[in-house]
Amino acid sequence: MEELFGGFSLGLFIWQAILFIALILLLKKFAWKPILDSVNDREEGIKNALESAEKARLEMENLQADNQKLLKEARAEREAMLKEARDMKIKMIEDAKDEAKETAGKLIAQAQATIETEKKAAIADLKAQVANLSIEIAEKVVRAELSNKDKQEKLVESMLDDAKLN
């Protein structure tokens, strides 16, 4: 112990104390504080950047999820619209068909009625013409028959025969 403290030098102790404390204070002001502050700032910056990146990523994910949802909805809507349109088309066609059928039925009935009427008229006309023609023919035949006396008598006789029969 004596050997240990025999080497103790007060001058060295005082110089060391002065220089070392001065070194602590100077380094604190000019080095440690700026260095540690800078490092802290940088670390904070990195931390914040990472956090905001994470936030952005989450937002992006949300956005994408939203997009997906919207897309899905849009798709479903389109699907529904298409279905509606198809249904409407089918219905329209059906309606049109029905209407056409009805109209056609009516037309046909009308046409048939008209044809019937025409036919009747034609038949009537034909009957009249045939009657006229028959009368003319009969007139001509009668005239020819009645041109000599024998024939007139014969005719009267045949007619009488007919009348007898009736």
């Binding site: 110089w15 404390i21 070194l23 602590i24 080095a31 440690w32 260095i35 800078s38």
Partner: protein
């Protein structure tokens, strides 16, 4: 009771740290004793080797001491004169007034320096007052000088080195701080090497030991002490060979600052643990109080001795092994010593940073104890 556990854990950690160098030292010591045995046999043949050995011992002890001039090396000329290469440093004495002169007046301790009618002489690296221009140092029976000692505030070799380290550290870290400003909070140049170390001190030493809440106010001291001890230790390994930390005055100063900071930052909980240990019966409290109080002094004292002893021992061993090269003076012994010295020098590089680390960690641990908040579940 976890403070006790803390102590055990601490001593355990210290043991672990100390274990490897100790094994290596033991290994080296076996070599050394072997070398000495061989040497004593040689002594029978050559008597002159003994002188060389004494000279070596003197040289090593002298080298470990502080000196008043900045000697780089010395050599003997052919005429038998010793030439010193280096430069003188200012000597500042307080002896009935301030006395400032250059150490060249001592002529490397060989002559008496006359200043303003007073005479001073260097004896065993200390300045003593002598009677006149031819005055001598009076010795008592233990070989200690009995002459008056003036108050000595000289700029010695060690003070010069402390100042050099001061300047180096200041400009190194100032530049680093400036590079952050210029470069958008990113380090440039030397800062790229220093930043991981600074962050290591913060994240591995300060925060785990002191805690997230309080560590900031101790960072300046911890960083300064870490880099100071480290750089100073490294300088001790350079050929300039000045060991600042093998002066008890320097380690005492560092330990004292740690002690003062610990004491002044101690909170209610810290003092309660010292004077009235919670969770133990009252007779134990009375027994524990002086032990704990003593403990507060022993902790920084251990810090002081640890740093001093590690560096001093390392240097004595290293220089002894280097010296053995010249004592053996044969190719087997000398080359073996060279290899040993090389290995040991590498070990000393590790010790330089290890001691800085241990000093910083333990300081942080003591600060952590001082500011620790009360935890009920711990008792």
């Amino acid at each position: 009771m976890h403070r006790f556990l803390g102590h055990y854990y601490l001593s355990d950690m210290q043991r672990k740290i100390a274990l490897k160098p100790i094994t290596l030292l033991l290994f080296l010591l076996t070599f050394m004793s072997y070398g000495q045995e061989g040497h004593s046999e040689e002594n029978l043949l050559e008597g002159s080797k003994s002188d060389k050995e004494t000279e070596m011992k003197e040289y090593i002890l002298h080298h470990l001491k502080d000196s008043y001039d900045f000697g780089l090396y010395s050599y003997d000329t052919e005429e038998g004169e010793t030439k010193h290469v280096g430069f003188p440093l200012p000597v500042i004495l307080w002896d009935n007034g301030l006395k400032v002169f250059m150490s060249s007046k001592f002529h490397h301790g060989e002559e008496v320096a006359a200043v303003d009618g007073s005479y001073y002489k260097v004896f065993h690296s200390k300045i003593y007052k002598v009677d006149g221009p031819n005055g001598t140092i009076h010795l008592d029976e233990h070989g200690h000088a009995t002459n008056a000692k003036p108050l000595d505030f000289s700029i010695t070799k060690n003070v010069t080195l402390i100042f050099m380290v001061f300047v180096i550290l200041f400009f190194m870290f100032k530049q680093m701080a400036q590079s952050y400003k210029k470069n958008n909070n990113l380090p440039m140049g030397i800062g790229r090497i220093l930043e991981p170390i600074v962050l290591y001190v913060r994240d591995e030493i300060a925060i785990p030991n002191i805690g997230e809440k309080h560590y900031k106010k101790y960072m300046s001291y911890l960083l300064t002490v870490f880099f100071f001890v480290w750089i100073v230790n490294l300088f001790g390994l350079t050929p300039i060979g000045m060991n600042v930390t093998n002066n008890i005055a320097v380690t005492l100063c560092l330990a004292l600052i740690t002690y003062i900071i610990t004491t002044f930052s101690g909170n209610k909980n810290y003092w309660a643990h010292i004077f009235w240990m919670p969770g133990v019966p009252w007779p134990m409290k009375i027994i524990l109080a002086p032990i704990e109080l003593l403990g507060t002094f022993i902790k920084p004292f251990a810090l002081m001795i640890r740093l001093y002893a590690n560096i001093t021992a390392g240097h004595i061993v290293l220089m002894s092994i280097i010296g053995m090269m010249f004592i053996f003076n044969n190719w087997i012994g000398s080359s073996l010593s060279f290899v040993l010295a090389f290995v040991l020098a590498i070990l000393e590089l590790l010790v330089a940073v290890l001691q800085a680390y241990i000093f910083t960690v333990l300081s942080a641990l003591y600060f952590g104890m001082a500011v620790e908040e009360h935890h009920d579940e711990a008792h």
